[in-house]
Symmetry: C2
Subunit: 132 residues, 2 copies
Amino acid sequence: MSADEIAVLEANDAFYDAFHRRDVAAMDALWATDVPVTCVHPGWDPIRGRDEVMASWQRVLLGDAPDVRASRASAHVAGDAAWVVCREQIPNGPPLAATNLFVRRDGAWKMCHHHAGLVARPDDERLPAALA
Amino acid sequence: MSADEIAVLEANDAFYDAFHRRDVAAMDALWATDVPVTCVHPGWDPIRGRDEVMASWQRVLLGDAPDVRASRASAHVAGDAAWVVCREQIPNGPPLAATNLFVRRDGAWKMCHHHAGLVARPDDERLPAALA
């Protein structure tokens, strides 16, 4: 694993750590300030714009959202952008798949997009068989 | 909207056009060749590596996957990386949210990650209320 990939995975860990600690200030500090950030929370429509995204995190972190644990994370670097694909698990809940996107700023990887959504299961009757 | 954002949305349209036409060669040409591409199809575990991702598209495009239409797309550019957030709709199916990630190569935006997943609905009994 490259030094860049390790650094990206550390940024990804910091994101889930801020989530776990319900730390709104740490979450804010993780996100880029100079790119148009976006976020797709599970079950929410996409949120666009830093103020809106941060307001959504405040609602999630200070609300009664369940604890989230990430696993199976892999980092993928393309120049000054990088993304992580991982699995999210909530207690007694269905598994989620997440994409976390970062940009490199002054040597640090800053988050610019988060997308978490249900991993449909093969027995999910709402999906056509070809997609399930 | 900037010229970059327009170009990214055009690349996003080309992706859904290749999907609609079941065009495996066009789909292959859309994806970057020099970065570690990844893909999260709805209901599949994340796929990592170009050969594996392209094999998955061959299976999807030549199988009986339903037609997918994209809407509400927005493009977000950060240097030589960009991403699109949009809604996907399949006939008589649940709505999906998608993240499509691109890198700029020789002036063209090449796909390097696709993530589509169910948008959980507020009445989804599988999600804790705080996430739904």
